[in-house]
Structure formats: structure tokens, C-alpha cells
């Protein structure tokens, strides 16, 4: 269980990271918190001649609050997100999702960018990014581009990032001044294990209490995080009291084709999703009704 030999580069700017990626091509990989990459290197599932360690790159490790967005540098550690007052206040669902990731020892090293680029279909952050409509600030040889979460995740451990691009930051819109409720829930065999099934919901109400915006995203449901567009459409425009959320959730779960493995059969996972979807939808509505930031 020892990594194959490699050389380390320690760039100090994003441009130097891109230059190193261009120079070494497929022989190089970015190293952030290492909590996914180092196990893969140790098990020799992967090997690279060069690791580009981003710990000394300026500007990747800050959390900034703008008017309607929070910009989180890709190298911000998961434990910093969990502790951040800005995030607890303006985007508590992100702190709640973080507490579900692995164990605190993992979160002390693991970064938000590493988790998003690793794009494990069972990971929490990709589904949260998808539900909240986050955008990804990415820099490559041609400059910087912005990728919406809906276009970022392409399949098992696969994203729209090209080999010579680096994720610089993630922008989360925040619902300031709106009645929006958000929540995340998952089922895992043991706290800290990857989820068997998980769901994120963000639901907004108008002054009359009717639902005006709905986003529900699932993790561990497919090869990438999944939006429940049909169920979202069924909720939007209606007053919560007029909706049969358990029935809508059952219908949504019946249409899923989750993994079927020794951790849980597809039927069992559909059963979990049916309840998780109903739970997150109901709780997001309650939180929106109780929202005090309006």
C-alpha cells in the first residue's frame, strides 16, 4: 500500500498550476486535500509522475460573501466550511451537508473543490451544488470560464473539467430576502460512510405561501447527482397544503434506477429514496415558512 514514486510541484499561482498541467499533460494530477487521491495512489489504482500540490496557491482558500452569492475557494477545507459563520448564517444547508461527509479527521484535510472534482456519485457536495444552482469558476490555458452545476457532472467520477483546467472557486447563490427553505438528508449504514441514498431540497415560497421555486437533487441515485424535474414541476405554483407530497415522492422514487450492490439492493434504495424525498420536501417547506431572513 505504498504510492508509486512521483515528483511534486508547488506552484504559487493559478497560472503556474495551469502551466504545469499543460506541460505534464496526463502524467500529472492536482493534489488538494488528498483524501480521495492518496488512497487511490496507495492502492495503485492510479499513478502519476507529477503531483501538483495546490496548498501554496494564492487565493484558493477564502470564503467571500458578496451581495447575492458566496464564493468559496476550491481549496477551502471541509472543516472550515463546517465552522464558517458566513456559511452557517447564509447557507446553513452547506454546513449541514458537510457534517455528513466522512469523519472529522477526513474533513480536516479534504477540500470542497476536491470533492466536487472527484465527483463521486455518492458524495454530498455535488448534489448540493446541483440543487442550489452553484456555478464553477474554472481556469485553463484559454482563460477563465464559468460552468453551471447542471453541466459540470457528467458521470461516475467524471466532470466537464478538461485535463489542463483547474477549479478555482465555486459560487453559491444565496436566497437573501426570499422565503426559501433548504435541507439535506441521507441514509448511511454508519455515520461517515458514503450514503446509500441522499436528497437535497430547496423550496421558495411567495408572500401568499405558494411554492414559487423548487429544486430537489439526489445523490447515490445514479452515476451523477440527479434533479427531480417532474416532481419539481408538480410542486411549483401550488400551495403546500394542496399537495400530496408522499404520493409525489413515491412516484419520483419509482422512476429511479439506483445501484444494486452488496451495500443495498435497488429496491431497498428506492424505498429509502421514497421516504428521503418526502422528508426533504416537507422540511424545506417548513423551513421556508419559518424563514426569518425576509
Amino acid at each position: 500500500m505504498k504510492c508509486a514514486p512521483f515528483r511534486v510541484e508547488l506552484p504559487s499561482t493559478v497560472d503556474e498550476v495551469v502551466a504545469a498541467l499543460v506541460e505534464h499533460g496526463e502524467d500529472a494530477k492536482i493534489l488538494a486535500g488528498g483524501q480521495s487521491l492518496i488512497p487511490m495512489l496507495a492502492m495503485r489504482l492510479a499513478r502519476f509522475d507529477v503531483l501538483i500540490d495546490v496548498h501554496h496557491v494564492d487565493g484558493l482558500a477564502s470564503i467571500q460573501l458578496d451581495q447575492n452569492t458566496i464564493r468559496i475557494g476550491s481549496r477551502v477545507r471541509q472543516s472550515e466550511i463546517e465552522r464558517s459563520d458566513v456559511i452557517k448564517r447564509h447557507l446553513p444547508v452547506l454546513a449541514e451537508a458537510t457534517a455528513l461527509i466522512g469523519h472529522f479527521q477526513i474533513r480536516n484535510r479534504g477540500t470542497i473543490g476536491g470533492s466536487l472534482v472527484h465527483a463521486d456519485p455518492a458524495a454530498e457536495y455535488p448534489a448540493v451544488a446541483l440543487a442550489l444552482g452553484a456555478t464553477f469558476e474554472v481556469t485553463g490555458p484559454a482563460g477563465t470560464r464559468v460552468i453551471p452545476a447542471a453541466d459540470f457532472f457528467l458521470g461516475y467520477w467524471t466532470t466537464a473539467l478538461t485535463d489542463d483546467e483547474v477549479l478555482v472557486a465555486i459560487h453559491f447563490p444565496i436566497p437573501e430576502g426570499k422565503r426559501v427553505g433548504m435541507t439535506v438528508k441521507e441514509v448511511a449504514r454508519r455515520h461517515g460512510d458514503f450514503a446509500l441514498a441522499g436528497a437535497v431540497a430547496s423550496i421558495g415560497l411567495d408572500p401568499s405561501g405558494a411554492i414559487v421555486e423548487t429544486a430537489i437533487a439526489l445523490f447515490s441515485a445514479a452515476d451523477q447527482p440527479l434533479r427531480l424535474t417532474e416532481m419539481e414541476a408538480a410542486l411549483t405554483g401550488h400551495s403546500p397544503d394542496s399537495l400530496d407530497i408522499p404520493a409525489l415522492s413515491a412516484a419520483a422514487a419509482a422512476g429511479l434506477a439506483p445501484g444494486d450492490d452488496l451495500h443495498g439492493s435497488a429496491d431497498f434504495r428506492r424505498h429509502l429514496f421514497r421516504h428521503l424525498i418526502a422528508d426533504v420536501a416537507a422540511e424545506a417547506i417548513t423551513r421556508a415558512q419559518e424563514a426569518t431572513n425576509v
Binding site: 500500500m1 505504498k2 504510492c3 508509486a4 514514486p5 512521483f6 515528483r7 511534486v8 488528498g34 483524501q35 492518496i38 488512497p39 495512489l41 496507495a42 492502492m43 509522475d49 503531483l51 500540490d53 496548498h55 472543516s79 466522512g102 469523519h103 472529522f104 479527521q105 477526513i106 480536516n108 484535510r109 454508519r190 455515520h191 461517515g192
Partner: protein
């Protein structure tokens, strides 16, 4: 191909200067280059927690960090807990009192995780303790005596900090 790098480590207050390959994990450097074999290696891929140490007061898995990345940090391992005269740290004493170990293989990792946990939260709920220890595996005890040790250690640490503020 991968040239050795010189790394300066501070472990339990002592300075070390080691030459290591970039691929050498922190736990291997602690054990082989600093001769501190108290930190154990179980799975070597982040699952078991046996290798837990504190880096700048935060608990991390030292098999999921390269030694070169610890340059300039302050590391605390199981060897740094007891007093110079051999008086055990309250977490160690609690393990002895509650029989929190059998073979002892997992113990250094558990003890370091618990030190970090209680440092952040002096009065954790049973649920918080279970979550906090979910990243450490033990194949012997069945965990109950370890949970008891956490309670005892938390009580001792609270009593000591109360005394210190008097």
C-alpha cells in the same frame, strides 16, 4: 525520478530534520525517520484511523498526508501525551481505568481522536461521541469500554479546567 526532499518537522515539541521521498507518508516518516513507532499503521488508505495524529491541533490521518506536507507544522503524537515523569494524560488514564483497550493496536489512533474531540467540545453528547469516533475502528473491544473511557476523560478534563480557573 523523484528526488528526496528535506523536511523539518516539529513532533511533540522536538525538531527533526529528515530526508524523504515525496511519496513517503507522514506516518512512515514518524515511524521510520523519527523513530516514533507509537503511531500505528492499519489500512494505509484512510479507513481505520489507527494512524491518527494532531497536525496544528487538528486530528488527521497521517497515512493520507505526505511527510513533505507537514513542513513547518507542529505535530502531536501519542508519545507526546504523558508527562515527562510518566503521569498519563487524562485520556490515557481513562482508557486504563475503563479497559478501553485489549490488543492496543487501535489505541493510539483512538486516543488522539479523543484528545482532539474533547479539546473542541468538553461535554459531548453520546451521539457526538459516537459520530466523533466513527472514523476509528477497533477489532477487539466492541467499543463500549472506549465510550466509557471518553466519559471518564471528559469528566476529568472538565474538573481540571474548573480547578485551573479557580
Amino acid at each position: 525520478m523523484s528526488e528526496d526532499v528535506e523536511v523539518r518537522l516539529t513532533v511533540n515539541g522536538d525538531g527533526y530534520r529528515v530526508r524523504v521521498e515525496p511519496r513517503k507518508t507522514l506516518v512512515d516518516a514518524l515511524r521510520e525517520d523519527c523513530n516514533l513507532t507509537g503511531t500505528h499503521i492499519g489500512c494505509e488508505h484512510g479507513v481505520c484511523g489507527a494512524c491518527t495524529v494532531l497536525v496544528d491541533d487538528r486530528a488527521v490521518r497521517s497515512c493520507l498526508m505526505f511527510a513533505y506536507q507537514a513542513e513547518g507544522t507542529s505535530i502531536r503524537t501519542i508519545e507526546g501525551l504523558a508527562d515527562a515523569d510518566g503521569t498519563l494524560h487524562p485520556v490515557q488514564a481513562a482508557f486504563r481505568e475503563a479497559h478501553g483497550l485489549q490488543c492496543g493496536f487501535c489505541t493510539p489512533g483512538f486516543v488522539m481522536s479523543i484528545v482532539a474531540l474533547l479539546d473542541e467540545n468538553g461535554a459531548p453528547t453520546p451521539q457526538e461521541v459516537r459520530e466523533g469516533l466513527s472514523g476509528n475502528l477497533c477489532r477487539c473491544t466492541g467499543y463500549q469500554t472506549i465510550l466509557e473511557a471518553v466519559d471518564i476523560a471528559a469528566a476529568t478534563l472538565r474538573a481540571t479546567s474548573l480547578e485551573a480557573t479557580r
